[in-house]
């Protein structure tokens, strides 16, 4: 079964109304709610693909228990995590969920991390995505070794001898350390945001000063990477002296990871995120903005145009964003 885009927008609007009520009750600010007219944008020449509902997502599960990025593809870690997170938001199929977790547990590498897919012999940032799943469902030992792997990762720019020597000489024992996409590369916004969220969840079970410290410096890394326009891009706010613009998806992810942070600079970031939501051109970007703004008690503005949801990850993220607007944000719980 497929949910029409208009249906999905209606669902979004209803959810927003619900969210505004809930947030208002908490005495927090509420952002703009899209007028009904903007939900019925004129059709484009090609018709934006429809969102998948949870039943469709479950139906796309591979025989091995994982999910792929595209139809008939092999199973990958990221879509499998998103399909499981979406099921945790509401309707779920117990058998499908168990098969998904079984696939994930089998894909874990001996070093405790997860590869992008089992055909790749390297643990990468997707380990943080897996560690966002409930510890009990994943398995305590699997989760603990994932957290151990994450704690051992850092951007190459701070892991180098020169960087460590500089910190030593300057007496800065607390470098602003983020996480890379791939071991041996520099730290960037997306893997850092996801690692912070995973460690924040782990901190509730593991009372560790090390984890708390890593979360703090990771958050400082994100604040350092703010673009001049107020949001975040992949992680370079200035290239050769020229300011670089921010992106919706990374702005939403960073705001999500900074949910407990109160800084004057974040006010600009929240304004920038709202502006991005209005002009957003991707479903994935809008969903991340909704999740990030919701973490700060704000309902994201609706975009001026209808957005296509073309991939499983788009639809799963949409489900997660709508759930957050109803008060159930899987990234923060």
């Amino acid at each position: 079964m497929w949910v029409g885009v208009e249906d999905a927008f209606s669902l979004g609007a209803n959810a927003r109304i619900g969210a505004v009520g809930r947030i208002s009750e908490l005495g927090m600010c509420a952002g703009e709610v899209c007028p009904a007219a903007s939900r019925l944008a004129p059709p484009t020449r090609h018709h934006p693909p429809k969102l998948m509902d949870i039943a469709t997502i479950i139906g796309l599960q591979n025989r091995d228990g994982g999910w792929s990025y595209r139809k008939a593809g092999s199973s990958w870690t990221e879509p499998t995590v998103f399909a499981l997170l979406a099921q945790l938001c509401g309707q779920s199929d117990a058998q499908s969920v168990e098969r998904g977790f079984t696939w994930l547990r089998a894909a874990q590498r001996p070093d405790g991390g997860w590869p992008p897919s089992p055909s790749i012999t390297q643990s990468t940032w997707f380990t943080a995505m897996v560690a966002l799943l409930p510890r009990d469902a994943l398995g305590g030992s699997h989760h603990a070794s994932a957290i151990g792997w994450l704690m051992g990762q850092t951007g190459q720019e701070t892991d180098s001898f020169a960087s460590r020597m500089r910190s030593e000489l300057l007496g800065t024992s607390n470098p602003r350390v983020g996480w890379p996409f791939f071991p041996g590369a520099a730290a960037w916004v997306t893997p850092t945001a996801m690692s912070i969220l995973a460690l924040e969840k782990a901190r509730r079970h593991l009372n560790s000063n090390g984890i708390q410290k890593r979360i703090e410096v990771g958050r400082q890394f994100l604040v350092d990477r703010l673009c001049k326009d107020g949001g975040w891009n992949y992680g370079r706010s200035n290239v050769l002296g020229v300011d670089a613009p921010s992106y919706p998806e990374t702005t939403g992810q960073a705001l999500l990871a900074l949910d407990e942070v109160e800084l004057p600079r974040l006010r600009n970031a929240l304004d920038a995120a709202q502006e991005q939501a209005r002009s957003c051109q991707s479903s994935e970007g809008l969903s991340w903005l909704q999740l990030g703004l919701q973490a700060h008690g704000i309902v994201a503005a609706s975009p001026a145009r209808r957005l296509a949801s073309r991939r499983l990850v788009d639809s799963a993220l949409w489900i997660l964003a709508q759930s957050a607007l109803r008060g159930h944000n899987v990234f923060l719980e």
Partner: protein, 318 residues
């Protein structure tokens, strides 16, 4: 820029020659690389121009699988950053017309995960019928590990998308742009999009740590069955590949030897090709000399349009 040729670069020239002999998709003797420069516009005659280019280079793709690799980078309604969709559609139709069994369009942007949304904003869905059915997001394609033979970079292997690996011919269709890290981004640099983001991230920063120029040369060797059509109708100068300014040149530059095509593009942009490190690595010095490239169509001088360079690259001005 240091223009000394190292022993390694000389070996690169030999490897380039070897790569040429491995490509059996173009008939006839190819001892001297041939590069076409043709005047073109998006408004008129583009489809016929591209078809004639392929005929001119005797590209034989009958029964073959062809992958068209445009350059999709950012949301850009002005089509300054991304390859113009009409050129990609013209190539699609031309390769189909030449009897290719399968022609796909594929790209894996370096910074943005939302590839299809980028393509939509760039006009690909409106210009190319059934675009989504023809397109593969190389960032999320299934992959295979490939050992790099005698690599220039410190990488010994790379994961590449199966769609690109299975192709009989990969056609690089980049924008003619300056680039703030490597000087110019043309058909060879465009192959960075063959590195899957799902493995290496957004950006594909592993390649930067391994050496951008070296990785460009490695990718060139890893995909020897290639052809290039450079979109120089409107290029980008200054702080490219994203934040530069539009630069109308009004040409397409094409050929089967990507080092020769890119060297010719550099001359059109008034850039010294020997100042582009990845070109020296992949081709060696003599291969880039103007007298060693057979130009077809327009003369370089007749279309030469100096591209503004950022200060870091003033030394490579021709």
């Amino acid at each position: 820029m240091d223009s000394k040729i190292t022993r390694r670069e000389a070996l690169g020239a030999a490897a380039s020659g070897l790569a040429l002999t491995r490509c059996g998709l173009v008939s006839g003797s190819q001892s001297t690389p041939r590069v076409s420069i043709v005047r073109a516009s998006y408004a008129q005659g583009l489809y016929d121009t591209v078809r004639r280019l392929l005929v001119e280079h005797r590209v034989d793709v009958r029964g073959k699988r062809v992958v068209l690799k445009p350059n999709l980078v950012e949301f850009d309604p002005g089509t300054t950053i991304n390859t113009h969709p009409m050129l990609v559609h013209a190539a699609l139709e031309a390769f189909r017309g030449l009897g290719a069994a399968d022609v796909r369009i594929a790209e894996g942007p370096g910074h943005r995960r939302v590839t299809l949304d980028l393509a939509d904003a760039a006009g690909y869905f409106e210009t190319i019928p059934h675009f989504e059915d023809l397109f593969t997001d190389l960032n999320t394609d299934d992959v295979s590990q490939v050992l790099l033979r005698d690599p220039f970079s410190r990488l010994t292997s790379m994961y590449f998308p199966n769609t690109a690996l299975a192709a009989d011919l990969v056609v690089s269709i980049p924008k003619m742009k300056t680039h703030h890290w490597v000087g110019a981004t043309l058909s060879m640099k465009n192959f960075f999009g063959l590195a899957p983001g799902s493995v290496y991230g957004w950006p594909k920063n592993v390649l930067h740590w391994a050496g951008i120029d070296e990785c460009i040369a490695d990718f060139h060797s890893a995909f020897p069955r290639h052809f290039a059509i450079v979109d120089g109708v409107v290029g980008m100068e200054g702080n490219g590949p994203i934040q530069g300014n539009p630069k109308p040149v009004g040409v397409l530059v094409a050929g089967r030897d990507m080092t020769a095509v890119d060297a010719t593009c550099c001359r059109i942009m008034k850039i010294n090709p020997s100042g582009i490190r990845y070109l020296r690595l992949a081709a060696g010095p003599n291969h880039l000399d103007e007298e060693n490239i057979r130009q077809i169509g327009e003369h370089i001088k007749s279309v030469q349009t100096p591209f503004e360079l950022i200060p870091q690259f003033h030394t490579i001005r021709l």
